[in-house]
């Protein structure tokens, strides 16, 4: 396990320095929740707030989600784990935030746990990465020598399924959806206003949680996140009825990576794959 206490100390130290020096107006990190297992995303705005900052193995939330909530130009320091840093890169690519307004407090970490189930989530999400892809200050020693799980390994079981069985699987899963929209709200890449599903003209789907509407909402959302999903897994953890949305997003990410040779949020200079093209893209991808 990573040294969470050490990271927490460093986080507080850096937050204090940045706020005192006036380099940033807000530090996005974590604070204590109603119990140990439930830390909360936290916005520290003054030195007095810093004592509330915590970091432990349940701090899964992707703090990049909150970046777009602040007006453009706000100087923000944000605590980023591996997947979160990819989200930041992706947001920079999409010109939602500017690199110069951000101070990235990188957190190299492994052994994070899901607070609902207690299971270690490394293998399921976070793309097998432990170290942030982009950071200004690293809050702990880089992780090396961890057993790297291929990010797409969990997919094998589902890819091997017969298509009818897979249809049954997804239909059953998506039928559970209660349309609380926690998935899109927890997602750092879902920032459309209004979301296509809330539009009344055209109305893409029923408002009631029924099979066709749920299917429309989720399939389209998978599509909208194609080449943008950075595999943090927040959508699945946010879901009150535990729909494994991350699986579908992973599959789409995998296909995009194979077809377009680029994973989401890895390089600042990349363009999101679906707002980009190569003349030499092969027609094979359509087969």
């Amino acid at each position: 396990m990573a040294d969470f206490k050490k990271i927490e100390e460093n986080l507080k130290k850096e937050a204090k320095r940045l706020l005192e020096a006036g380099e940033v107006t807000v530090v996005l990190a974590y604070s204590k929740g109603f119990d140990e297992k439930h830390p909360m995303p936290y916005a520290a705005k003054s030195v007095a707030d810093i004592k509330n900052i915590v970091f432990n193995e349940y701090c899964n939330h992707n703090m990049a989600r909150y970046l777009v909530r602040y007006p453009q130009g706000t100087k923000i320091a944000v605590a980023v784990k591996a997947a979160d840093s990819r989200a930041v890169i992706q947001l920079i690519q999409e010109e939602k935030v500017k690199r110069e307004n951000l101070v990235l407090l990188g957190i190299p970490v492994y052994g994070m746990k899901n607070s609902k189930t207690g299971e270690v989530i490394d293998s399921k999400t976070t793309s097998g990465l432990c170290n942030p892809v982009l950071y200004d200050i690293l809050l702990g020693a880089e992780v090396h020598g961890q057993k790297i799980v291929s990010p797409y390994e969990v997919l094998a079981e589902y890819e091997a399924m017969d298509k009818d069985a897979r249809w049954e699987f997804w239909k059953n899963q998506l039928d559970k959806c209660i349309r609380c929209y926690a998935c899109r709200k927890a997602c750092p890449m879902c920032y459309c206003d209004p979301c296509f599903i809330d539009q009344s003209k055209p109305r893409w789907a029923d408002k009631a949680p029924q099979s066709p509407g749920n299917m429309m909402y989720h399939l389209t959302r998978f599509h909208h996140l194609a080449g943008r999903c950075i595999d943090c897994g927040e959508c699945s953890r946010a879901c009150p009825v535990d729909i494994p949305l991350y699986l579908f997003h992973k599959k789409v990410a995998k296909e995009c990576e194979e077809m377009f040779g680029q994973a989401a949020g890895m390089k600042l200079e990349d363009k999101p794959v679906l707002v980009d093209f190569r003349v030499e893209d092969s027609d094979k991808i359509l087969e």
Partner: protein, 345 residues
């Protein structure tokens, strides 16, 4: 009257109830337990702490059809949906959730215009309350004690159930419950020892402690009115809020809904669907004006509605402390902590 049945024979009781009408009881799903209409008596599962979704959907379903219509046809051809309810049995409801029905009753069944759907469903239903298992530890999110509810309160149930080792004790509380219980001839009568156990269990329920703070209805109402314009406070407590609808959908006392028309292939249904005050478009007017555009305004609305407006309007806090909103919040926002903090502010 007190009766009892072995827990592993619960399916037999379920089968009897299914013959009499519609049975709604907890079933185990992949992610946890939920109330569902029982089609197979074996599926009833009482081995749960509390359900993910609250049992409000028994009376206030996620979607309720009003009218079926055809597009382009005269309006007189539209057909109102008639409920045609069989007797309903709502089985295994925790005391805090039972209390929620009384709070919702004021809104739908007593004040102003009566909601015909809620009333019909409510009148057709017998509620089987079910005490929390006192031998198991309490979930850290729960705080029903704060709202004056205890783990084994039979108040509001028609029949109240208590677990005794491998048996389930059932006691008729209301006239309706007693009558139904007397009709359940397949289960045996309780003995004197069972009666004693039952009474003691209810007393012991008072010592089963959830989170607790001293909450005076008038004080909190006034306090929330006073700090309504304290934007700093509301911004701070809502800084993590994602503005999703989980808390309102799992809540047993949230009743906001939307009315929408769903048309498909020329036929359609006007229905009401749960809505959430946390959604951006909840108060968006056709003119484009939206009085609550910010996350903090929406969270403020939610908390004020439960702890202030509802008291002013109906004289009771619209929260039972079941802890669901806290438990299922993706970012662990805790309404209890917010109220606690509000009092101190």
């Amino acid at each position: 009257m007190l009766k009892k049945t072995a827990i592993n024979k619960i399916s037999e009781l379920a089968a009897v109830l299914m013959e009499k009408g519609t049975l709604i009881a907890p079933v185990k799903e992949v992610s946890g337990h939920n109330f569902a209409q029982i089609l197979d008596p074996q599926k009833v599962d009482l081995d749960f702490y509390n359900t993910i979704m609250s049992p409000k959907s028994a009376f206030f379903p996620h979607k309720e059809d009003f009218i079926n219509y055809k597009v382009g046809k005269p309006i007189s051809e539209a057909e109102p949906v008639v409920l045609n309810l069989k007797p309903m049995f709502l089985f295994g409801v925790r005391p805090c959730d039972v209390k929620s029905f009384q709070i919702m009753d004021i809104h739908f069944n007593a004040a102003g215009i009566i909601d015909p759907y809620w009333r019909q469903r409510r009148e057709a239903t017998t509620i089987f309350g079910y005490a929390f298992d006192l031998s198991k530890s309490v979930d850290s999110a729960d705080f029903y004690n704060t709202l004056g509810i205890y783990a084994a309160d039979p108040d509001g149930s028609d029949i109240f159930m208590v677990k005794k080792d491998n048996e389930l004790l059932l006691k008729g509380i209301t006239l309706q419950g007693k009558k139904l219980l007397s009709e359940l001839t397949t289960i045996e009568n309780g003995k004197a020892a069972d009666k004693k156990y039952f009474e003691e269990y209810i007393k012991k329920g008072r010592d089963y402690k959830t989170r607790f703070m001293c909450l005076d209805q008038e004080t909190i109402t006034k306090k929330l009115e006073d700090i309504f314009h304290n934007t700093d406070f509301w911004t701070r407590v809502s800084s993590a809020c994602l503005s999703c609808g989980v808390c309102t959908f799992v809540c047993p006392t949230c009743y906001c809904f939307d009315i929408c028309d769903d048309t498909q292939f020329g036929r359609g249904t006007r229905r009401r669907v749960w809505d959430a005050c946390m959604f951006t478009d909840f108060t968006l007017e056709a003119s484009g004006h939206n009085p609550r555009t910010q996350v903090y305004q929406r969270l403020r609305q939610k908390i004020n509605h439960k702890y202030s407006y509802h008291v002013r309007k109906y004289g009771v806090i619209s929260c039972v402390g079941c802890g669901r909103c806290t438990r299922y919040c993706p970012v662990s926002i805790d309404i209890y902590s917010i109220i606690e903090e509000a009092i101190k502010t």
